[in-house]
Structure formats: structure tokens, C-alpha cells
Symmetry: C2
Subunit: 211 residues, 2 copies
Amino acid sequence: MSGGSATPLEQSATPQVDALQAHLLDHTLRVLLRDGYRRFSMNAVAASAKASKETLYRHFGDKAGLLHAALVRSAGMIEPLLHVGLDEASSPIDRLRRLGMNYLHGCYLPESLALQRIAVADGADGLGPLFADEITERAVAVVEDDFEALGSARPRQDAELFLGMIQGKLHERIMLGVEIDDLEVQLARNVEHALEVLAPYLDSMPSDPHR
Amino acid sequence: MSGGSATPLEQSATPQVDALQAHLLDHTLRVLLRDGYRRFSMNAVAASAKASKETLYRHFGDKAGLLHAALVRSAGMIEPLLHVGLDEASSPIDRLRRLGMNYLHGCYLPESLALQRIAVADGADGLGPLFADEITERAVAVVEDDFEALGSARPRQDAELFLGMIQGKLHERIMLGVEIDDLEVQLARNVEHALEVLAPYLDSMPSDPHR
DNA sequence: CCGATGCCGTACCGTACGGTACGGTTCGGT
DNA sequence: ACCGAACCGTACCGTACGGTACGGCATCGG
């Protein structure tokens, strides 16, 4: 909505207001993380942010609006993490490896999990599709570009396949609240295993992934 | 916990009580499907089942107990679907194909989705881990056996990889409430694509998958 | 210096839900 | 025939939440 990057209608950016909104959304996330979705309430957000409920409603309309804004804001903050260190990759496969790890790291950020939980909890209020558009879709698009550069005949399908591979059942378990040991190790193992299994398939693509 | 004092140690002890419980759990599922998790209430279940709330509480203790019982019951009904038509497979790979399709079909049953939603919504009440144990774990175990028979060196990892592959991002989208066109076609395509990509890896296993 | 705007704090309203209580009824066992 | 268990229907209680209203304080433009 009123993103900091571009406000097309008015030039009066009023950084004060934006700062307050950012503050409110910050605490929205914090409360979501602390209390979980089921115990999340406008009262708790107002208290945490030391703001009045009236202010929350003035800025975001209603509860759904607040969550909507929080999701969009978070999406904007998570997405750049995907690209970290990508240009230092030593080969297309190494690039894929880094991209995969970045994706998983972003995926299992506490904020991401909290947001995905509320998005999943009930698609009726439109938060679910929004999450799919703002977060899932963007990640797939990035990976898709990589597969296209590799010469894949079905970059989109391959991207989704790859992301599914590196997530495996881990994603489901984490979403279900199962305690995971050595998460970092498992993530790396999943990515390596996926790349290993994928190697012959990648080799069959026009552009040799080993440069 | 669920069942309370009347929990039958031998399942054939009190068919009457079991029939009522089954009826109540049936309507629990129905209401869950109709109203979604957020609007799910004990009142609604009682009304739908034409039962008194007192009865619900007598049999299941509290809301969590009711959902717990409903999940366990459903798990028992979903799991057998995994094995349908498996012994008619023409080859280990065909067996894997059937298993994959069965899994996806079970996964995207409305009941499964509703249950997974409530299990994901908040792991605090222990429903999440229960789902992981009762449903996810069982499916992985079955696929794991298949990979072991194929001669996989890491059957567990391979099973999780395979399931992740055939789910791809589809699972996430469905959970997020995105409308899916031609679900059946996409499921089949995911499975075929996974088998195709996996073929060289399977060929490398001691037991030749092509019989 | 003054009015307006935005905000805080608190109180408030309506509703919905989890869980309990109770009177009346059905039904199986003795 | 009788008793008690289980059940239904309804009413009830406490609480929590979404959303609104209002009095008081700060800040800012004129």
C-alpha cells in the first residue's frame, strides 16, 4: 500500500507518519511472535507499541488491515535476503546452492513462520493468497530465472521442484511445531542432497552448469 | 486427556459408546470443513451433531481433546489410502508413482487440509506434533520402505526428498487457500516430473528399479 | 496566541465463545 | 417396576476480543 519506495499521489511523504506506522507494524510482528496467532489481539499490539487502539484503527482500518500491512512490510524485508552473496558464486550450481540456502534461511525466520501460520490459518480473509503472491511467488520467480539461465526447458516447474526438494518434509514439521535438532545442518544436507540428485538432470541442460 | 474414564482398552468393549463418539467426531470434521478453524466452536459441533455440549465434554474433556480425537480418527482413515493399488504396480518405479499419487490424493482431501490447518495454526496445544506423528510420519515411513527396497543408501532422506519433490510449491499454495486449476493434472505432472528427474539417481541404486 | 489535528489512556458496548449447571427425558440393567 | 446413567435442550457465567467513544495532552500552522 503506502510503501516507502513510492507514493505516487502526493509528494508530502510525511516521514513522521511513516515512522509511526513502521513502529506499529514492528510491534505487530513482535506480538505475533510472542503470543502466536491464536492469542494475537489488537489490545496486545496497542499495549506493546504503547499506542492507542484508536491509532491502530485510524492507520489500518481493522484487524485484517493491520495483518495485511504487516505481511506486506515483512515481505519487503525478507525478499532481499534471497540475493545475499549470489554474485560471489563460483558456478551456476554454486549459485543454486547459495540461493537454496538463502531461501531456507528466509523461510525459517521466526517472522516468516508466524506470518505463514496466520496466512494458512484461514484463507478466507484473503491473507493466504496475499502471502502466496508477496512471498512464495517472488521466491519462485528468482529461482525460475536461475533455471532459465541454466537452459531448463521448464524453468518454472524446475524451480518449484527444486524448492520442494530442499524443503522436503522439514518445512511441514517446522510448521507443525515439531522441535528440530541441528536445523542448520539439516538445511545444508537437504540442499546438498538435492543438488547431488539433480546433477545428472542439470548436466542434460544446454548450458553446462559446471561452466 | 481424551476419552476420560470410559476409554476402552479393548476396542470391542462398548460398541454403543464408540458409535456415539464416532458420530460426534464425524460432525466435528464436518463443522471444521464447513466453518474453517477460526469459526470452529463447540456450540457448532453440538448443534450439528444434535448433541448436548455436556456430552461433548463428557466424552472428550475439552476442546483440545475433541480435536485431538478427531485428528487421530482421521489419521486412521487416511493412512490406508496410501496402499491402494500398490500391489498391482508393474515395477518399483510404477509402485513409486502410485504411492506418490496416493499420497498427494490423501494430502489434499478436504479433511486432511482442515486438520493440517488447525495443527499448524498453533503448535502450543500439542496438535501440531501429533499431526506430525500420526500422519506425516506414517507416510514417510511407507515411502521409506520403498526406497529401502530399491537399495537406497539413505532411504529416509530419499523418501523425504521424493515427497518434497512431488508436492513442490503446490502444497504451500493449497494451504494458503490459493485456487488451483486442474489439480489432478498438476499432481500427475509433479509426480512424473519427479520420477523423470529421479531416474538416473534410482538407476544408480543396487537394485535396478526397472525390474 | 489560538484553533485544529493527532495521539494517548481508559472506559465502554456488543458479541462470541468455552465451560458448567440443571431440569426433564429416554433407556438399559436388575 | 424401579433406579441410575446417559442424554438433550437451554440457560447461564466469566472472559476475551473487536471496535468505538470521549476527555485530556501535545504539537503545529496561522
